[in-house]
């Protein structure tokens, strides 16, 4: 039996599924029609609550609960904003939805707009995704021409218009308040919270910001009913299937739909086809996008207390813990986007640290001193370690700088930099010390990495 399931991805392999007639022949818009013509907004919201969707954008907030925070004052508009900025390294799932089945996202937006009382929806797409943007624009135009959008979608007097909005190359615009700043035409600098977007979001109005995949699950929630959708997941409170990504040193990198709560072992060895090179075992895996602390292959769950959330896995490999929001937090990591980056025994963790820290230093918006300075320092330290100029105190300094970045900033980018850095040093302390002593070798550039791209050894 295979782990893969086909709900969200049901039309992924249907040729031309991005075209309305094809998508519709394969079931598109039946759920939106049902939601608009047979259900009240409150009934839709109840099903979504029962579906136990944990937000797929990385933070894992329960979707139904977030929708419940909306309390628009009389006369206020409510807006839906879909986060299609997909920038978290290791994450490439939302792009597949928009390119391969854009009508699923449009249908999800219609259902969400009706449920939360919104008449306008903006999909904020990172501008590099030109094909996704084009497919979405075409899908929106086709749905509108068919009367599924506009003043009376499916004949129901609840006006809905959906627009795409391009980003312009800035990872930070994936953070929901930076995204709203960018949507409003400004620099993508995160806002102080509270107020949260549900109270004061786009254009000063109560706004729901959801990830593409979160929204794309809605047609299945309506078709199956929330409870049945939730039951597809393997963990209580974390319902449905979800899209897993796997990249790096596996045989079959890609996007796979499987139940919430599969294990990293299943993701790497079953869905991902196992390690790329037979003679190079797994060294570590970043479970859900680069901001989630990595998990070394050797990590064993230590949870002797019966009250510990991971007690059931006490003494087992961390690779056998179900991937859930709560379980992975208890493991000292995070579930994130479920975009796993797999690294084999050839990889230098010092080089990994340098690669990731360069990313965050480049992408910090610079508003908060601990983040702006801290990411810069981390790069400086990693550069000198990697270039053989490391100082004896550098490893401790990495820890100090990371700790100083935590909890003191406007948005979570600083934490998302510091936590993976701390995990790298914690689990591969010896490797960092060795690098400081002897200079790091660039072990990624061995013959077989060169061979992967067909270069001469």
């Amino acid at each position: 039996m295979t782990l893969e399931m086909r709900y969200l991805t049901a039309r992924y392999d249907v040729p031309d599924a991005h075209r309305l007639e094809v998508a519709e022949r394969h079931g598109a818009y039946a759920a939106a029609r049902k939601a608009l013509t047979q259900m009240t907004p409150e009934q839709i919201r109840e099903e979504v609550k029962a579906a136990h969707i944990r937000g797929r954008g990385g933070a894992g907030f329960p979707m139904g609960v977030k929708w419940g925070f909306l309390r628009p004052a009389p006369g206020q508009q409510v807006y839906l904003v879909v986060n299609a900025d997909e920038g978290e390294p290791g994450t490439f799932k939302d792009r597949s939805i928009m390119e391969r089945d854009p009508h699923r996202l449009v249908e999800g937006c219609i259902i969400a707009c009706r449920a939360i009382g919104a008449h306008r929806c903006w999909i904020y797409v990172r501008c590099e995704l030109a094909l996704a943007m084009q497919r979405l624009d075409e899908a929106i135009a086709a749905a509108r021409a068919r009367g599924y959008l506009g003043p009376r979608p499916f004949g129901v007097p609840h006006e809905i218009e959906i627009f795409t909005h391009p980003g312009a190359g800035a990872y930070i615009c994936g953070e929901e308040t930076a995204l709203l700043e960018s949507l409003e035409g400004r620099r993508g600098e995160p806002r102080l919270k509270p107020p949260f977007p549900a109270v004061r979001g786009a254009f000063g109005m109560p706004t729901i910001v959801n990830n593409v995949e979160s929204i794309a699950h809605l047609p299945d929630v309506i078709t199956m009913g929330g409870a049945a959708f939730a039951a597809l997941g393997r963990l209580p409170g974390e319902g449905g299937t979800r899209l897993y990504g796997v990249s790096g040193h596996v045989k079959k990198p890609g996007i796979y739909e499987a139940p919430s709560g599969i294990t990293l072992r299943e993701l790497i060895y079953d869905l991902g086809g196992g390690m790329l090179h037979e003679d190079r075992p797994l060294k570590a895996v970043i479970p859900g996008g680069s901001s989630t602390p990595l998990i070394p292959a050797s990590l064993v769950v230590h949870a002797p207390a019966p009250s510990h959330p991971l007690h059931a896995w006490h003494g087992k490999s961390a690779l056998d813990v179900p991937m859930g929001v709560e379980t992975f937090r208890a493991l000292g990591s995070m579930l994130g986007t479920c975009g796993a980056i797999v690294m084999d025994s050839s990889v230098s963790m010092v080089e990994v640290a340098r690669n990731l820290m360069r990313f965050y230093a480049h992408e910090s918006c610079g508003q908060c001193t601990p983040c702006r300075e801290g990411t810069g320092w981390l790069v400086d330290i990693m550069d000198r370690i990697c270039e053989g100029r490391g100082r004896p105190e550098d490893v401790a300094l990495l820890v100090d700088v990371s700790n100083d970045m935590m909890g003191n900033t406007i948005c979570a980018l600083a934490d998302g930099t510091a936590m993976p850095m701390l995990a790298l040093v914690k689990y591969f302390h010896e490797e960092f010390l060795e690098a400081v002593r002897g200079g790091a070798r660039d072990r990624r550039l061995d013959d077989s990495t060169r061979a992967l791209v067909g270069g001469a050894p």
Binding site: G90, A168, G248, S290, M343, F359
Partner: protein, 179 residues
């Protein structure tokens, strides 16, 4: 001379402005539209967008400088973005970059000897499962090999008109009133 959009793009701009309750939200979409035509966000483009949405040029300039895909300088007709984030690096992105540097004769941030290509380093392009990845203009090239990359570059170079060394700015044939 003031910047103007071509008639088709002007129509698109008018349509974009209707999408928001506040015209200022059209800032980035309009900058993209102008850049498509003009090749970069010149002072004239910035001035045009500022007037169109009713903000100061300083505001629009602040936006342009924040985002890496909005160009502050004229640049070659083709932009090659090589992803160097982790998943791509694990699958040979450094080798790809070195090959590009040799072939184009420039470092990231520079332009090729023939003036047809700019080389830039990209952060994760949301295509990690197809690593290593290079984006050239609007297209992604995934699971690249060096041979494949050479073939793609040959093809693009062949269909790019020769660039005059003194006039590196790219203009599409249908460009409306240029600066």
């Amino acid at each position: 001379m003031a910047f103007a959009l071509s008639p088709e793009r002007e129509q698109l701009a008018a349509q974009i402005l209707t999408r928001y309750p506040d015209p200022r939200a059209a800032c980035i979409p309009l900058l993209h539209l102008c850049q498509q035509q003009h090749g970069w966000c010149s002072p004239e483009v910035i001035d045009y967008v500022a007037r169109r949405i009713g903000v100061s040029t300083a505001h629009v300039l602040g936006v342009v400088t924040f985002y890496t895909s909005l160009f502050q300088k004229p640049h070659p007709p083709n932009v090659v973005w090589v992803c160097r984030t982790l998943s791509c690096d694990l699958r040979g992105a450094k080798v790809i970059q070195e090959h590009l540097e040799r072939r184009l004769g420039c470092r990231p941030g520079g332009r090729s000897k023939d003036g047809k290509f700019a080389l830039k380093k990209a952060e994760c392009l949301a295509a990690c499962g197809g690593a290593p990845v290079v984006q050239i203009n609007d297209r992604y090239y995934e699971n690249l090999t060096l041979a494949e990359l050479d073939r793609i570059l040959d093809e693009i170079a062949a269909r790019t008109a020769a660039v005059e060394p003194s006039e590196p700015r790219h203009q599409e044939p249908d460009a409306g009133g240029a600066a």
